[in-house]
Point group: D3
Chain length 235, copies 6
């Protein structure tokens, strides 16, 4: 897409989606890119029914509990806030008035950095509609329903199923992964959390399947479209 | 307490509690100080059964969705991260090895700032046990149970009950407060959220009571003591 | 005080006082909270004759020469500047136009941080009257007069007398404290000043008395009221 | 690639390449993604003859003179420095000791930010070999040689040729582009450079061709391999 | 002086002096460079009796109350803190162990920035002796003595006399300057202090003379040498 | 120059020149002040034919590859960006509308810091003309011409000649200096570059002469005047 094509598209006032990920360890079986594959797939699904412009992804986010595992490459939480602030502002300068920041990584520090960066910009422009979302906000609404376990998490049953649905060849041996959970309290602040968490897996991915993944993805899509219609329709 | 008394107490390796609040609008009926009253009361309750040293409270936190209401006095989210980092570090310098940061305000940006500030320090000192908690992490585990509504929030049924339990004279006319909810999506990023939220109340505080508040407080205390015993016992 | 009550009070254009302290070693005899007790007492005295709204105190300031003593819990100087800037700005957003930042701690770095943070805000709002004061700016005008020694300082004769006046039960054994002075030059920059200062006492607190403290406090009150009338009357 | 696969590969001490781009206007004929296409192609070419691990690209850099054109989405220069610092440090933490940061965008502020971010990390780890390069450092060595004009620049003859070589279908109508140059002095500091530069083209892309692009790319590859062998061989 | 000559001199462990000034309005009669002339003259006087290496001056400091007058060119207070920190650290890296930062400008924010920047470095190096001084700390010890007025200040009797002593030709018409004082309270924080201060003069420079200036300078030199011998002799 | 004289001069809308240097090792033969001597001499030459106001120099810049040599005293690159931003902004506040930042030090990080600092200000004021230049941008246009070597650099043939032209007594024994070059690749990022560069000399200064220096200086002056007339004439 050239500059002129971009300008022409923006004048039609599309919803612009900025996919955000993290390059992050995801157990022994999922690819480091899991957190970018998922929002990219969701963004493409949204684009089938809404006028959408998808920006190139921000590959690097802020990882906290998996920071010490091989393959996690993270920026600092405050750097991410600045990146989010700068991008959200410069996207506005381009004439965009509807922005969905869609993160595949759901860590609370990471999400707060994205939201706070966006909020600083929102305070400057009254005509700018912004939503910051991780698809896991919706995916985990299914916990305890339809055969999905009540407790699940990072690289667990749901996430493994979803990656199986969108990139099956990148999933390696999930059926042999030992279920695991971090052995620290979720309120504990640890300098080196990986010392209390053997695998970086939170849950039991052994019975994950592409079929479950597709079901979850369909639900996440439905909920995201509802959000889009609620937040962005008015503009 | 003098410097020498402080030093003597620290040598006994107590759990140190840093209460954190926010000076924040809490509907038409609750005091601006609601978020500091609650952790102070909880800290005192903890002190009855555990060796605890309670530090003076950090009165000012980061408020986001209530920022535009009268009486909210907030610092910026990144400033709070720096304050948390500095305090957690200087508390360590004093010889403290067990620290509970206990926040009465539960906003996600606020909590992320406290956690990320603490995490930076945790990465420097392997012998430092830290937990960062808002009492609402536990209080809201009761939603949908024992006559507590499924949905509730800021200055709503639970919080009003809890303030009634600890400072009944500061609660004014909660029985006449109209139930309310923010009319924006929780994923939306708004520069001026108060324009879409009449009262700053999330829920229905009309039937709140000190009795319910005491029940919730007892549960929160039990859960916090469990956390303390799990996280800090080993040291 | 609820949000609505706060708004109503602000519409009457009161002088708002933000008490600032430090949690700081004060010799073997004074409490760590000395620097917050004093401005709180002064603020209350002011409130008897002027229309005043007292905000909750900022307990944590920046301590430099006592940093290494037990019980001092300090934030960094630049963090304090940001906290001051944020609070002074958000207080303005609430409609306040007359603000007195009243610090019980008088360290030069601490005071500069408060002043510079406030100055950044003052440059943005022409209708905002701000004064930043430590009560010791006035208290030490009495040095060498009325039986007060010519040289005195931190936790010395004057400060001990003033704490005896407002919180006598928190003063412990001042009559047995050995007079002391820092053994470094006041222009010297030390990484660890406590290695050259045994007690954190600057002066001789042995003959301090509540009577002297009350006399000093009366003088400080008179001078502060003069300041208030001069700086804030016009608005 | 999973975490374990990543760890295994790193133990073989490969050269790790971090491709960096910019989402940036490139005249009426080149795609916004030009600056990421080129280093990705170069990285893949390097990988054919050297042991290389290519990280996901950093899509967003710092654009200065094209900042005001549609489609440029930039972060601030100091944010980029922090991103570079964080990534270079976290890559080291993963065990990497040979890193090539390869930028398709060649702006001087952008390159300085990458270099200064990397330099901060280099100062902490004596066993870390790092090079920061834009492929245009080598491509422009050909100016004035072999039919390449003496003067050329952004979206001009050389760059258009190179994009024609790697992504011909993304180039649109370069034969009809009017040659252009910025009408400001290169030492001038402009808040809005786009007001003095009609097209964002620096040079004459009309006769650009894939054949020239391939020739330039072959040269750039040769020079980059020389650099790699010189800088990283020793380790 | 070449690099090698510098290295040789540093090995002799001299006192290194970093003169700091401000480019600042000084009434209608004194030059903008007054604050650099004075510490340069003092540094040269010190060099006559002590082993001293004088670094090039830092011309730009932080001006607050004169910020709005013509000819004041100031950096921000936090920038000055960083400059001081960086210089004090890099001077240490050069092997210097005795450093006097000597400022001709005496503003409290300016001095705090220099001291806090230096203090950060002092905390890292136990063998580094640093003093931060403005010559006015000593000059004003003479207020009320020997015919010097009790109250005096910026561009007043003492400063005009001192500039007359070191650079008489740069003083223009001080005998006709109207005495003046800022008409704001010294505790007031003003965004635009120049609106309440006509001339930038604090005091009465009309009877200033080179003879008085020389007397003051002799006293300042004596006091500074005492400081030097006390602080730096031990090393 | 007094405040009033400064104001009067500014009203004539002169070109204001801010000379910037670095205190930096320059081989065994050149003074540490080489990078300030050169722009000062150039500024004075400009002042002979154009209406110019020369500000006091900024002595301290950012040095990278010579950082480890004795006598280099550098601030950090980001500090320099802030200093440049602050000065360029405060100069505008004084009414200046034409500013030339003229640096004798030509390091790429240093120049980028000056430019990015200035650019931030340029974005705020449409009527402010700014150029940021190092005289070496022009001096090295002569490489390979008129007996000047094709390759040359820091403290080499050209720079030594230029210092011989303006301050011959400060050059010591250049005829005996061994030609040298850094033994690292220019794209390499080194924590300690001085370990791979014996002398800090880039080139061969042995045949440098004042005559060559004067010739280069005349050329640099001519090119700078062209730049001035092009960039600043319009205003």
């Amino acid at each position: 897409m050239t500059s002129a094509e971009f300008a022409r598209e923006i004048r039609r006032n599309p919803l612009v989606i900025l996919p955000v990920g993290a390059l992050e360890e995801h157990g022994p079986h999922l690819p480091l890119s899991a957190d970018i594959l998922q929002p990219m797939a969701l963004a493409k699904a949204i684009a089938k029914t809404r006028r959408v412009l998808i920006l190139p992804p921000l590959w690097y986010g802020y990882c906290s509990s998996t920071r010490g595992f091989p393959g996690t490459v993270s920026i600092e939480v405050d750097t991410l806030r600045l990146v989010a602030r700068d991008l959200v502002e410069d996207i506005y300068r381009n004439g965009v008035r509807k922005l969905l920041v869609l993160s595949g990584h759901a860590g609370s520090g990471h999400m707060a950095a994205l939201k706070e960066g966006a909020k600083e910009v929102a305070g400057r422009h009254e005509d700018y509609r912004i939503a910051v979302l991780t698809d896991y906000d919706f995916a985990y609404e299914l916990l305890g329903k339809d055969g999905i376990p009540e407790k699940d998490g990072h690289a667990g049953f749901v996430e493994t199923s979803r990656v199986l649905a969108v990139a099956p060849r990148l999933v390696k041996g999930h059926a042999r992964v030992k279920p695991d959970w971090p052995s620290f309290n979720r309120h504990e602040i640890l300098g080196r959390p990986e010392t209390k968490w053997k695998t970086g897996v939170q849950g039991d991915p052994r019975k994950a399947s592409a079929a479950v993944g597709r079901k979850v993805d369909a639900y996440v899509l439905k909920r995201t479209l509802e959000l889009i219609d609620e937040v962005f329709a008015a503009l």
